[in-house]
Amino acid sequence: MASEFETDLTSCPHLAVIFSDENTKTILLDTYRKVATWRVQRSQIAANSAKRRKISFPACRTCSTTMLKPFVCIRCSYLACWHDEHIKDHLDESGHVLCLDVSSGNVYCRDCGDFVYDSNAHRTNIAAFVAAEERSTFFQEARTGSREPFRTWTAAEKEVVALEAASPVPCQARRGLLNLGQTCFMNVILQSFLANPLLRNYFLSDKHNHKLCKAADCTCCELDIVFSEVYSRNPGPYGPASFLATTWRSTELSGYSQQDAHEFFISTLNQIHSTSRGSTAFQCICIIHSTFAGMLQSQVKCERCGNVTTATDPMLDISLELKDKGGSAVGTEMTLLSCLRRYTQPEKLGPNQYSCDKCGKASHEASKRLSILKLPPVLSFQFKRFEHKSGDKSAAHKIEAPVRFPATINMAPFTTLFMKSKERQSDEHGSTDAASFSHLGPETNYEYDLFCVVCHEGQMDNGHYTCFARSHDEWYRYDDDKVTHTSLGECLNSQAYMCFYVKRRLEYKPNTTPSYKIAREAEAIKEKEREREKEAARMREVEDALLATV
């Protein structure tokens, strides 16, 4: 397949040679596998201080010190330390060229004199690491049939043929969006959708083709149109007029006045959900719910009798308060993590707010605690910057205080599973460990990477929305039609209103055809049957007519 795009990037010819030969490639793959397995086992030992398990650490072959950051020669598996340059000495003495950093999987080339990047090596490293993690994940084994290990996609015969005829397009694209009259609130949310890997994959794989969909005022089609326009390779800005018009027709959010971006976000998610084929009111698997839906657990504990009641609620995002209940401004710096801690800390319920079923008294001592029962693939946070003074929407006050947020976040401490374990651990041992608990699975299962930040400047009614969004590892600033290349630092220094994070590892279920598709296929078969019978009946009529003439 002729392609103007390079799919295999390498900065080191020595590493490229290894991948081109089947024998050396197999040996290298095996090394990656061993390294990943050891790395995962190592993190499990660390996670479990209570159990007295040990793992052997390799000693440097040159100086015999226990290596905390071992390096292994790719040619002969010589293990040596980096710090005292013993691995480099080995490479010089042996004439071998490449070695692997066990902790990260990165490759150092003696000839190139640097760590090198090779897309094959990179992919192999990640695949080995993911496979090793899956093998050690408790949930992966426990419920067979509910989770599947990750498998790389390989094209089936039909697909190979289709691919040869297709012309490839790059899987990343950026286009400014024209402001159609105070519509920056819509533009930033559209940019967040465009930067969202799961939504991008859904629409680029043609899962909702606007040319085939026959529904009227279909917001899902409108988003498909936006994706098509942005990936059309037209570099100029695009005006999402039909998206705006459809939004007007579908909700009460109409007119040219400035809207709240978060309100628009939630409203649009609901619109896309309702116009997605096969969406349901309960346990929906449409693209919106598959991407954004998580579960919150609210646990109420009666302090008098210890009775615990739990309630679960679905959620599409998390809105975080910036002010204390007392209304006082926060003294120390506010961070996303401190807001989340406040969100999930036990909260005393006032008198008469709760009456216990078990001990039957209107309890004065009850506490409520929120935790995340199920983490969604995309986590959206909103900082509640706009305070409305009871009912009077025009007298809104904006909290300008900046909130520091990280480029990556580990959500484990805020999950129900983790909190329960912590409670149990402190009951048993009287102390808790800062590190994670091994039965909660590897840390990476709870890690998220920032990909979009929506910022608001000015006052509520005459402000301006802009956003930062990430394409692979590069950050861009979107100010309506103006798109500029920027840095992570610039993004993290901005005053965030909303932050979007995507999960580093996704979970996979066995492939099942959605019920609406099965119904559609059954209907198509019935339709064919009916056609056949009609045709047969017609033939019989013709025959009868012919016989009558004889």
Partner: protein
């Protein structure tokens, strides 16, 4: 010629290091350090500075980049974090060495 005590200290150090690694204690303390540095924004600052620095100096090697940025990064580690980690290490050592 090295003093007799130095040899013994080297041996002790090597033993402790091995025990610390094999029991997972080193990794636990390292995880705590990583967490604290992430929370205060140190990690993102360091990453951003090195990345943008690498972008400006075309063809710079990893080691050269580290040599350029390491001093500032080390200087920016908050005192509270340094103290906390030192205490954790000290607690471990106290638990391993007979008084």
């Amino acid at each position: 010629m090295p003093a007799r005590n130095e040899g013994r200290h080297d041996y002790l150090f090597a033993q402790l290091r091995r025990r610390m690694a094999e029991s997972g204690e080193w990794d636990r303390i390292y995880a705590q350090l990583r967490q604290e540095l992430k929370e205060c924004g140190w990690r993102d600052d360091f990453k951003n500075r090195s990345k943008e620095g690498a972008r400006k100096s075309e063809g710079i090697t990893f080691e050269a980049l580290m040599d350029t940025h390491r001093p500032q990064a080390e200087g920016e580690v908050p005192q509270a974090v340094k103290q906390n980690i030192k205490n954790m290490i000290k607690r471990y050592l106290d638990s391993q060495i007979e008084p």
